[in-house]
Symmetry: C2
Amino acid sequence: MADCGEHALIARIKERLSMPSWVVLGPGDDAAAIEPVRGALEVLTTDSQVEGVHFDRRFVPPDAIGHRALAVNLSDLAAMGARPRAALLSLALPASLELTAFDQMLDGFVSLATRYSVALIGGNITSTPGPLVINVTATGTVHRRKILTRAGARAGDEVFVTGTLGDAAAGLLRLQAGQITADDVDAARFVRPDPRVRAGMLLGRNRAASSCMDLSDGLADGVRQIAEASGVGIRLDASAIPVGQALRDDHARNGPDPLDLALRGGDDFELLFTCRPNQAGRLRSVRRHLGDLPITRIGVVTRGRELLVQDGQGVREIPAGYEHFR
Amino acid sequence: MADCGEHALIARIKERLSMPSWVVLGPGDDAAAIEPVRGALEVLTTDSQVEGVHFDRRFVPPDAIGHRALAVNLSDLAAMGARPRAALLSLALPASLELTAFDQMLDGFVSLATRYSVALIGGNITSTPGPLVINVTATGTVHRRKILTRAGARAGDEVFVTGTLGDAAAGLLRLQAGQITADDVDAARFVRPDPRVRAGMLLGRNRAASSCMDLSDGLADGVRQIAEASGVGIRLDASAIPVGQALRDDHARNGPDPLDLALRGGDDFELLFTCRPNQAGRLRSVRRHLGDLPITRIGVVTRGRELLVQDGQGVREIPAGYEHFR
């Protein structure tokens, strides 16, 4: 980036954007200004992607870095049942990043933002002597009575996930081993995850879930978080946990254990949620509107505080999930 | 941070916080949720502090890193005339950062947040193989007709700054030279800048400014930004630019040129604003409410697009300000 000033980089961002009418002031001033949505809560989240921790520039292309940075935040909004609205992009750029890579990173970001009608309203660019860090703050809206949190699960609720689990972790392993490239279909779940924005909004709007979160750090971490926040336990049925066909085939050829990848592998960005018995009708309605995305029952909420998984060999404790600094 | 997990770090943050009633959901879920202020615009800004770029851990103590990271964002909100309200804190922590330093960084952040009634509603923590990066997003509110932008200056307006300029740059030079430490009074303006929150709010509320921005990158950059956004020129009077007494004394002893520090040195976080002739009465009212903080007239807005500074030797062009990647 040695040949391009901060203001010129900001100009490259601005030329890609169009602003909806509720953005009173977009990028270019000291701060952005937007009109709130009357009667709705504002939901805010922030997340960083750090080169060497969350992605490796050797096999994650620049557009995917931009895509991922927004996707992880939209996934957090989805977990609250919120409709995404605006984003702020804060970049710490190493000198080694080329201008074409910068442009592609932006293109990946803006492309996903456009798909979900998210306005990029502001941000910040700085140089760094270290790895690329891309920090995104995303905001959305949700009506107060429709917000989804981690804290509402009760004994007797059923546990569900959207989509399939473990694919992203499997893709990452194969990328790291050089067996596939970012363009390979088996890499897509890790490289360009699709946040479950529509599923989250439908679950919230229909009040079809008693608790919800997104699976950024694996299913084991997810059930632990919901159980702790709700003061309950969870028992999973291993045979019900949905893993992709590629993972099963892989396992048959001495690949990693799909259940292990689902429990401990991160980056799936599926939604984990619980549903009261009396919400079953609402969940059916969500399913009808969702179309192809599977929703699978994988366990039950229990009064006892244990986190258990039942498989052919019996019942055992769920291993601790991935956690930074551990 | 090797001995402490991400969840434990988040717990250390949460124990320092108390939430106002408009925070529906604070840290600990996938996202935060707040009630918007009815009839007000929401103002959002984000800014990163990168070790080795914005601060040096050898002479900026941890509490000051936390303080600065929030201060630069509150300064941006002040420049819009906004009342600060909430913040999100996103940390990329190197393994070398000790837990006591983490705690002190938080204390510096929370202490400044408390002073300005800013609620820390959420954030994110990740490890990094690189330097410490602390990214803050701050939100505030302002009424639509009272928002300050960079774009309102017109020929004939007068140009003002709050406080004194150059002190932060002078302090940084002396810190880098090992002449003073972070506890020295001459280091304070760089180490723990005080954002002009109250001045910004008063200027906005009283509609006493036609344009405004904060001086994070020096006065030369500031006048350039306001002139470009407003489509005008600016002529500064060098002898009127307020520099601190220490700077003048320093210069008398062959120290750096105070005018140069004011123009090109960053980190002052004073407000630069313009005022229409018919806003003079409103500005007097702001001055009365502000108390000790000086407001100094330093130039005029011109129809011609030049950026000029007039001193004893005559009139010359204002040098380009500091910019990342240049």
